[in-house]
């Protein structure tokens, strides 16, 4: 070495500088990483959180691949091995499973936050459209993933999904055999290929278009979300279910993000039009919204029609999902337990959607009297009080739930504790950061 460094720190700094200068010649230079010095709004941060959960899924999934075998006769047994005998296999599977739920959930929240704040305008159309495609791919990724276990529940989802594809007009009959191959023995391999390579690759490629160049790394928030994944895994660990057996019936309800589609199918109406039309309309609506909503207004308050559409769509999701989970155990046969009366179903769903649309629209278009004077931009010290109180209440409610589960018999204490310690670390980081910036100000 030609130069001498007096302290270890100097040497490290020099090494970092050296690396950064070289990295400037790579695509990395396009990104700017910032570590915020202050608390930032979690809503605007939902997208980054989704991406981070996606990374976690990539890592945990890759590790699961060491044991999982995509074969019709060994798939279930290999998942059982991971779950029951591989050291830490249980933890890996729980992380992967719960992170996938979190990813779908965060993506949905992200979508609606951006929708209501009109982010698809102001030259963001490409970001918006790639975001919608990313969302669809995320659901497909989750779907192909939980089918790989080949338990009863997975088979139900496979049957629903494949039935929908088969019955899709025009393209369906030629697309479905591509996924099915010669039967289940092909299907499982193809779903595996889609799940571990093709869809993630597409997601990554689209992500390069979708993520901003200024990447914010907000450690407390990230730790909070990862911790939350662990805590949920600790409280509600994913089970194995029953091995798929086509000669036995069972009452199963698919994963929560599919139950709304399931509800439609259970009314016994024609498969494609019931099960696929609505999600399709959803996707199309969100895809074209930036090209239809041309007003310059960003806030949802100034866009009554689109705000009402948004609220109505949320209620629609909720109503159909609740119906999907509804099982009438007072009935004797499996079929009767799962059957949903179409008249009741469609009217409840139609009425609730229409009413919510109508009321939101009326509320927002009602003349509001004199415009309130613009608020001064100075934030009062109590600006965030409501938020803090609500957060605290949520924390209390959640801890109460946690304590109850804990007392009953916590299925998986260790993961719960791991998650809690992560959340605590995040909290400490936040306090540290807060005091550091406060100290810097004085």
């Amino acid at each position: 070495m030609s130069k001498e460094y007096r302290t270890f720190r100097e040497a490290i700094d020099a090494l970092i500088k050296w690396t950064v200068e070289r990295l400037e010649r790579t695509p990395f230079a396009a990104f700017k990483f910032t570590f915020p010095k202050q608390y930032i709004s979690p809503f605007g941060y939902l997208g980054t959180l989704t991406a981070i959960v996606f990374l976690i899924l990539g890592v945990s999934g890759a590790i699961l691949m060491f044991y999982y075998t995509p074969s019709i006769d060994t798939a279930f047994a290999s998942v059982r091995e991971i779950q029951e005998s591989v050291p830490f296999g249980f933890v890996m599977r729980q992380i992967h499973y719960h992170a996938s739920n979190f990813m779908v959930l965060l993506a949905v929240f992200h979508l609606y936050y951006q929708y209501f704040s009109g982010r698809y305008k102001i030259k963001n159309e490409v970001l918006w459209v790639t975001g919608i495609i990313l969302g669809i791919l995320t659901v497909l990724e989750a779907y192909t993933g939980y089918n790989l276990i080949l338990n009863q529940r997975a088979m139900l989802a496979i049957n629903i999904g494949m039935g929908l594809t088969f019955s899709a007009p025009v393209l369906g009959p030629s697309i479905a055999p591509i996924l099915m191959g010669g039967g289940y023995f092909d299907l499982i391999v193809r779903f595996y290929a889609l799940h571990v390579f093709i869809i993630p690759l597409l997601l990554l490629l689209l992500l390069t278009v979708h993520i901003p160049r200024a990447l914010i790394i907000d450690m407390p928030m990230i730790l909070g979300v990862i911790g939350a994944i662990f805590v949920t895994a600790g409280m509600f660990p994913a089970e194995l279910g029953l091995r798929f057996d086509p000669t036995k019936g069972s009452v199963e309800v698919p994963e929560w993000y599919l139950t709304s589609i399931y509800a439609f199918l259970r009314t016994g109406s024609e498969r494609f039009w019931a099960g696929a039309l609505l999600p399709l309309l959803f996707a199309i609506f969100f895809l074209i919204v930036p090209f239809v909503d041309k007003s310059k207004k960003l806030s949802w308050r100034d866009r009554p029609f689109f705000a009402a559409m948004g609220i109505a769509s949320i209620l629609m999701i909720i109503v159909t999902t609740v119906w999907g989970f509804y099982v009438d155990f007072s009935k004797l046969t499996v079929f009767e337990q799962l059957y949903v009366e179409p008249v009741i179903y469609y009217s409840s769903f139609g009425i609730i959607t229409l009413i919510s649309f109508f009321f939101t629209y009326r509320y927002l278009t009602k003349p509001r009297g004199r415009p309130t004077p613009a608020k001064p931009l100075v934030l009062s010290p109590r600006a965030g009080t409501a938020g803090v109180v609500i957060t605290l209440l949520l924390v209390v409610a959640f801890s109460w739930l946690a304590v109850l589960t804990y007392l009953e018999n916590m299925p998986n204490i260790s993961m719960f504790n791991m998650g809690m310690s992560m959340i605590m670390l995040g909290l400490m980081l936040h306090i540290y950061r807060h005091t550091a910036s406060a100290a810097a100000k004085t």
Partner: protein
């Protein structure tokens, strides 16, 4: 047109021909994604008429490959049965509701699905009860195997009428048409 432009055009034409010549062999690529050997129909002996009596049945897999993993696939499971009044029939065993495997209740002359209780008639495979019967035509009948019965009474499977797991267009086609004596 100057000589240069003419030359350039000729070169361009040649180039496009070359690109096409390279791409042409890939035009059949789509076939890669369908496992054709799985869907090809073959002539396969299943049983002999003389071994069957009204209400008896045999399960078989079709098209048989000899690989137990493939032959054991639900989508290749079929049932050959003799109805109570002596007709020969063969159906896919995949319920058109959610793909469980129905069994034959010979005393009642019905195929009964274990999962949600769909019930199919033995003589034409049409669902008369349960969720499968609620599905619109043609998604409410089991696919049939086309059979040939030769002079010795040997029964051969020769093809499929309908789509496995989905249904069969049965309205304008008598189930007898799928059983041919040769």
């Amino acid at each position: 047109m100057s000589v240069q432009t003419k030359r350039r055009n000729v070169l361009r034409a040649l180039l496009s021909v070359a690109v096409l010549a390279v791409l042409a062999p890939f035009s059949g690529l789509a076939r890669y994604f369908y496992r054709e050997s799985a869907s090809q129909s073959q002539r396969q002996k299943i049983a002999n008429v003389n071994d069957l009596k009204p209400g008896s049945y045999v399960f078989f897999s079709y098209p048989r490959t000899g690989d137990p993993k493939i032959d054991g696939d639900p989508f290749r499971q079929y049932i050959l049965l003799m109805t109570r009044d002596g007709k020969i029939r063969a159906y896919s065993r995949v319920c058109v509701h959610l793909w469980c495997l129905p069994t034959y209740a010979s005393d009642r002359g019905l195929l009964v699905c274990p999962c949600h209780g769909s019930i199919y008639r033995e003589e034409d495979g049409v669902a008369i009860a349960g969720p499968a019967s609620l599905q619109p035509y043609p998604y409410n009948a089991l696919p049939m195997v086309k059979l040939e019965i030769d002079g010795n009474g040997d029964i051969y499977a020769v093809g499929i009428d309908g789509r496995i797991g989905l249904g069969r267009e049965w309205r304008n086609r008598s189930p007898d048409e799928n059983v041919v004596r040769v």
